[in-house]
Symmetry: C2
Subunit: 325 residues, 2 copies
Amino acid sequence: MNEADIDLLSLTAKLYYQDNLDQNAIANIIGVSRSTVSRLLARARDIGIVTISINHYAPRNLEVEEALCKYLGLQRAIVVRTFAEGNILNIRRTVGYIAAQAISEIIPNDSVVGTAGGRTIYDLVRYMQPRKTPSSAMVVQLMGNIGPRVGQIDAIEIAHTLAAKLGGVFYTMSAPVFAHDIQTRDLFLASPQVQELLRLFDRLQVALVGIGVLENSAFVERQILSPENAHELRLKGVVGEICGRFFDIDGSEVDTPYRDQVVGVSLERLIATKEVIAVTNGADRAEAICAAVRGGIVKGLVIDETGANAILEALGQKSLRTELH
Amino acid sequence: MNEADIDLLSLTAKLYYQDNLDQNAIANIIGVSRSTVSRLLARARDIGIVTISINHYAPRNLEVEEALCKYLGLQRAIVVRTFAEGNILNIRRTVGYIAAQAISEIIPNDSVVGTAGGRTIYDLVRYMQPRKTPSSAMVVQLMGNIGPRVGQIDAIEIAHTLAAKLGGVFYTMSAPVFAHDIQTRDLFLASPQVQELLRLFDRLQVALVGIGVLENSAFVERQILSPENAHELRLKGVVGEICGRFFDIDGSEVDTPYRDQVVGVSLERLIATKEVIAVTNGADRAEAICAAVRGGIVKGLVIDETGANAILEALGQKSLRTELH
DNA sequence: GGAGATTATGCACATATGTGCATGAAATTG
DNA sequence: CAATTTCATGCACATATGTGCATAATCTCC
């Protein structure tokens, strides 16, 4: 690349980005085909002759992140700025998109990663950039399947996608999340396939989990639990759920009939895992999140601004960002 | 525009310019139609959330411009950087495009501007940005028409275009550049239309002129002069031509049969005009340009780098920019 | 200096983008 | 609070842009 080339790139860039000529007009001036103009522009961006900067831009609310770490006692918080007009679907996508890069960075190439299901996790994993070089990561499904019909937001699907993005290996849990009874559960747990997963759980470094609440439960929606079941759980003190494990306000597992039917990672195992990151959104998860953190299950959080402020309010801190309406 | 709007613009800009998502993908994330994404991006650029800068970019060679002013004694020089690969057509367009803005800036809204013909002037005027508010400029055709058949690069056409760009009034010279004989010329000069032009010449503030050379003469090309005529002119010491006026190495008008047939601005008039800017390109005009400047006709110059270096070499200065080939 | 490899270019196509128009929502005025 | 205006949005179309492929130009190595 000589000086004349750089002049040409600069001229092309000026005509395009400063003077707003279209590529055809530029082609006429500098005497090349329009395709070449397109390529010259790409090159000018590439080598930094053209720099595009976005001013004052902060996709995350670092202030709130710090507050969450400080007051809630998190190791890691990712609070994604959202905008008032966004509906729930778009908020989830925005959170997923912005958090994807940060989460990808905390997953080492040789790690054992577990993942559960969830709508926000779905978007997070979906928007993750594929790793340039395949990793030796092992991606483990943390909980059994909700039903035979696999939805996009189920753990199996998400673990599969995550493995593809990381270029790693996907380990599936061939079992239902709730076995019919304790004996059946033991049969599943004793199966070689599940056994291998349980051994991987011992080496778990990063876990991505959703936070379920009874008011809006995937289990009820999928007719694994009836609304009455949910109500009973509520009465027993359940405030949230992670990987099929129901916990109370202190983050301790509640003694329910389902407790001994779950095929999936145990809360103890999650408590012993360093990076357990809850990925969620919205204000209605505040209580459950606080409980899960209190119980030592969750150490990191990915959430939207509104949800984060709800948590801070629940903690008695005033919102750090005035809500715009 | 509230803070949430700015967040949204910033996010959109990041997704588009930093992450290279297409507008559809962005629309899906932020929850608006793709059209709106297009509009958001335009707005983000508009209000400066996105800034696009072109580094190290210098469309003009200021060093050579200074040298021309210093050694040739110009008031004003615009030397446009060109690139080795460009053919003559593209060099002209580049010179025209880059010089257009600078020239436009030196034409006040209320001025009397004269223009002759020429290929480079054609491109210069063509690429000039139309003035936002119409001016009261008067644009005067400095010389008669070469023939009845009007070409794009003729004075009449260029003056017309320039008037349109400035939003001013166009004054045409209803006469041939060379009358048949001195009596005919006097008839043209006596006509009220030409008289009005002559009065405007007295008020001329800016003149854009081409520089003709006999080796590559528009008059020969248009069969107004024969190659033999051109050769005779050469023998009489003609090195160049401006507005149909042939001048020698000192920039003095040469006594030729054509001298008294020209219907157009006189050299004296041009000498008395402050901003007489020659607009041209290429190395073969060096001698003629030097002569015109020496004679006090031309005070400003628009030219390409190669042409500028040829002038400096002709002046005995070494080229200020090593030619890349 | 010539043969092969590498790079640059243009064409043609598929995709991405900008924009006039119609519609609906929000703001403003009486 | 209704009527009117203004503004924002989506649709559909025309235009602008990026890119695989074939070809031409240039470089490299012997």
